[in-house]
Symmetry: C2
Subunit: 323 residues, 2 copies
């Protein structure tokens, strides 16, 4: 079928109302960041909580509460730990010291904590929940519904590193490649973008579970626009591309821990990209595509051969529980 036509046929589905939650039980797919996750949040959790939406960040006056801390000037973070009976004390100490180092590097203070211990087998070592408090940054007015045709799309570096590194470290695939997770604070990159392109910034998102493809789909839907990505411009490390090819996974769906996607008005895109590339860990940042008016709600990829295909939201979970 012609990709454009396939796309048009998908529009009604995409534009439809919030999905219903029809499953009897929770499956791993509900945690993967794709369609099933959206059905869980929009079809069960938000209605049951009596709220319109349950985002991972919210403004409270001029403050912001978030489980990701990169859209705001960070002020403070809380850490809640669920510990499994039998956990080794030196492993706990190493993890907590690593958190402290990350917080210090990001300039954020850990101000409060809570600890629960559960019986052996009721957890997988340590579960950590962090909640951040920050001040909304006055340099930009960001909204996932603010994308306009012509806006440019930037990614802050090579994608898929984190998910691929976890996959390889688990050793399930008997593959070896020198891939490291990209875990890092995104604040320096965000600060650079706000300084250079503040009022021209439409939206920013970190591309964690569900990868860059999921971020693009969510924002195309929120803004009622189309997104066209040039496949050749997407930065992917050769070893990540190789591992993903062997495993049959598109790196656009693989989780990142230290990569963001930024949407910028066209006039500011060049300066924003230049500033972004100067931020630590963002040397491979690139402009990967642009926003179009139609077909609204869809993400299209232009391949190296000039063809187009729809890049839908993630279905299922290529790699459970990695961030």
């Amino acid at each position: 079928m012609d990709p454009e036509r396939h796309a048009l046929e998908l529009i009604d589905r995409v534009r439809s109302k919030a999905p219903r939650f029809k499953d009897d039980r929770i499956t791993m797919a509900h945690g993967a960041g794709g369609k099933a996750s959206r059905a869980l949040v929009e079809g069960l959790l938000a209605p049951a909580l009596g709220v319109h939406d349950l985002d991972d960040a919210a403004a409270v006056g001029e403050l912001a509460l978030t489980t990701d801390s990169f859209v705001v000037r960070p002020l403070a973070v809380t850490v809640s730990l669920v510990l499994e009976e039998g956990l080794r004390a030196d492993e706990l100490r190493a993890q907590v010291e690593s958190m402290a180092a990350a917080a210090e590097a990001a300039g954020v203070e850990i101000v409060a904590g809570d600890t629960k211990v559960v019986e052996r087998g009721r957890c997988d070592g340590i579960y950590v929940t962090t909640t951040g408090l920050g001040r909304l940054d006055p340099r930009a007015q960001l909204s996932p519904a603010s994308l306009e045709p012509g806006d440019r799309i930037l990614v802050s570096g090579s994608i898929g590193d984190h998910g691929t590194a976890v996959m390889l470290a688990r050793g399930e695939f008997e593959l070896e490649a020198p891939v490291e997770s990209d875990t890092r604070s995104l604040w320096p990159a965000v600060d650079a973008l706000l300084d250079t392109a503040g009022p021209s910034l439409r939206a920013m998102r970190d591309a964690t579970r569900g990868g860059v493809a999921t971020v693009l789909n969510e924002l195309a839907r929120s803004s009622g626009v189309a997104i066209l990505v040039q496949e050749a411009r997407i930065p992917v490390k050769p070893e990540v591309a190789g591992a993903c090819e062997i495993l049959g996974i598109d790196p656009m769906y693989v989780a990142n821990e230290g990569k963001l996607v930024a949407f910028v008005a066209p006039g500011a895109a060049e300066a924003a990209l230049a500033a972004l590339r100067c931020a630590p860990g963002c040397e491979d940042a690139n402009e990967i595509g642009e926003v179009q008016a139609e077909p609204a709600g869809l993400v299209l990829v232009e391949t190296g051969f000039g063809g187009r295909r729809v890049m839908d939201m993630l279905v299922g979970d290529p790699l459970p529980r990695i961030c």
Copy 2:
């Protein structure tokens, strides 16, 4: 041994520095709210995080971030869920609707959320972490180090209900008694105390894991004072007293979910108690003792027969993982 002398001999131990964490592994006792918990927080987590202490609430400017929301005027709360693969959707829905009802009753808005799914057996149904944001209330300046000799100690109602209800519901002891958990929002009680005794309030704490005894020990230690409790004045429901007696547990160590301990300057104690008793669920509130100068750092209980004994911090865990 003479109780006073026993008490004096304990002082050096109590006054010593923060405990070291000497265990190789995490045990259930580290989550019970007593000595082992204190060793974990003060001996491992706080030093590893490079912070002085890791309390469950912290002030950030004129705001407060907390995992308990009762010391502040609540503004907003975030909810993070860890869900076990295979969890029934109707159970999840019922739990989330119950959270929504509790939030509405407390006048607090659920503004952000996060969801993770873990493989079957890696969780026990649902783990929930909530973090609350509130504004510090100007009516009082509370501090756990502010207790002074002569201060009166109020509890907001009968103690040990929650822990006993959980114990009986688990059916491990083949006991049956009509005990219900006291889970409720403490804000109405706190609001009444702030209105009546604001500047005379020294400190307030909810008595969850570790019970009232643990709260008293923590504050005696923080303020460098002694606390003398009249056993006969402690409100305990007959069915709770009966169950605890059979099980050999002191209700003072049993967890509560909707009870607070307030420390008030003597001149304001009577009015504070009267106001407290008008708050919902606080009809059985009582003054249970007072603060003394010596023996600093210790909690003493005066029994019905006129004898005194030391009420030490909780050692071990009478009832794992109940709040």
